[in-house]
Symmetry: C2
Subunit: 310 residues, 2 copies
């Protein structure tokens, strides 16, 4: 068995990249580590948006418009819940509900999130591993002028309109990495930080006790792909969030957040001018096209990353 390739992943941006990666490496080698700090409870169900976005995408089931949810899903259950007076601002399709029902029942039966995720991706035929960063509860809390919001309230309900004054990951320090994850990082042929929000997608994974240290100490090449291109986020509120938190809103700004553990930083051609400053952080820089507008471009970017692995 070849040594594992470990990828740290958030939601839609990561899923797009990974959709290319599984086409250029042996997917059986791939350990995808999913962010679970934006997991939430809705209608009594445990929802893991980032794990599902990655799994649905790799299974070819994802809604191509949104990147999240299932293609062709209907919303009859949610509409009926709305009529019963339930909060229905979090979009959950009828087939999507099945995932959450299955997960919730298995968790109540005592299964770990790692086990349930393995069962789900086996049913969907995924050829790679997908593990939550931890089986323990970690929750992103977003500090705004109006108070501290749970992540989905900030992100979905309030559409990321609030200025972010701070972000914490409740429970991260007590959380243990998923079973086998630290070992996979230690034994990896290479590690990829997907082009996800560095604060709220990659940040929580790095905050789980032991993971950042393992990345720092790993002998493998750790490569990160910038989710900020031309000073803008490929997806979501990363740019505004970095700005309000006093960070540089650029590929360089992302590299600064990763300087203690990343060896190679992959940035877009439009940001080639930042290469020298990123190199000054002690990283090697790869300049390429990082905008994944087609399968061919996804594969090309994945190949650029995979070439760094041994």
């Amino acid at each position: 068995m070849s040594k594992p390739i470990v990828a740290l992943a958030g939601g839609v941006g990561a899923a797009r990249f990974l959709d290319g990666l599984v086409r250029v490496i042996d997917p059986a080698r791939l350990w995808i580590v999913g962010n679970t700090a934006d997991d939430t409870e809705m209608h009594g169900l445990h929802i893991s948006p980032d794990l599902d976005t990655v799994a649905y995408t790799l299974a070819g089931l994802a809604n191509p418009q949104h990147g999240w949810g299932l293609a062709g899903d209907t919303f009859h259950c949610l509409e009926a819940l709305r009529k019963l007076g339930a909060e229905a601002w979090f979009q959950l399709g009828d087939r999507d509900f099945a995932t959450h029902l299955y997960r919730t029942e298995r968790l109540r039966e005592g299964a770990t999130l790692t086990q349930v995720t393995a069962e789900l991706i086996a049913a969907w035929g995924l050829p790679c591993k997908l593990v939550p960063m931890t089986d323990q509860r970690v929750r992103t809390l977003v500090k705004t002028r109006g108070g501290v919001l749970d992540f989905q309230t900030y992100f979905v309900r309030r559409r990321a309109h609030d200025t972010v004054l701070g972000v914490t990951f409740d429970g991260a320090r007590r959380a243990r990495p998923a079973h086998g994850l630290l070992q996979a990082i230690r034994q990896a042929a290479g590690i990829i930080i997907c082009p996800s929000n560095p604060i709220i997608s990659i940040g929580p994974i790095l905050a789980v006790a032991g993971i950042r240290e393992a990345l720092r100490e790993s002998a493998a090449t750790v490569a990160a792909i910038s989710p900020i291109v031309g000073g803008r986020a490929l997806k979501g509120p990363a740019a505004r969030m970095m700005k309000s938190l006093g960070m540089r809103v650029s590929a360089l700004g992302v590299a600064e957040l990763y300087r203690d553990f990343v060896d190679v930083f992959i940035l877009d051609q439009v940001d080639a001018g930042q290469a020298a400053k990123v190199e000054a952080l002690g990283m090697r820089v790869v300049v390429t096209d990082t905008i994944m507008t087609s399968i061919a471009k996804k594969k090309a970017l994945a190949r650029a990353a995979a070439e760094l692995m041994t």
Copy 2:
């Protein structure tokens, strides 16, 4: 406020009768007492089939083919659950799932089944009361040659094929009647036993501590409508079940089960020949058309019952 009319109800048969009754009496007077001994847990959700069948029917939402479930419902969630390997023999539609999700979440929050049912029927605009027989857990267990089955396994999964050797209502003796129910029975202008299976639909309600006694002691007329017509059940396995349990499979056989608390027994014209034997049990007999093939016939039967109330 006029005195209440209390109706003891099972599922489809009762729902059809009540659909007529609410058209001929002031529905605000009506207390429907639902059987909850065939409640079950599926996919981690609390399902109350009889309560839902009655509520969906009275709200005009029921599937007219089956009598249970919602008209026009889709089954995308259940189909997706099936693909995940979940047991999917219990038909649950996408809109129906919303009911069970809502109920389960409210119960987990600490609401009683009585409260949740009141919330549901308010949302659906029902003008009557619908109360579970009890807020405590009572479960029908069916003894067969192959062992003891929970009710839905016997009824839905195994399609009521097994010979029934005995029926028990686990938890009934410790269960307390729903709040206000005994008082409603005591103050009632009249009480109706709907044309439901006497063993597994009405039986569990009568088994809840205090209810049978309250019916016996009530000053109001207690009228029962036979669910057995011409020696056959209007719906479901009542006839075979009565036979295998050694009971007379006839209107008279039903009357015998109710002899200690029923004052008036309503039977079908085809069973007019049994009137004298039912009268010999100490009941008054009303002979009428009990086959509810149209709204007009439902209303006529309901009027025959309502005329017995004061």
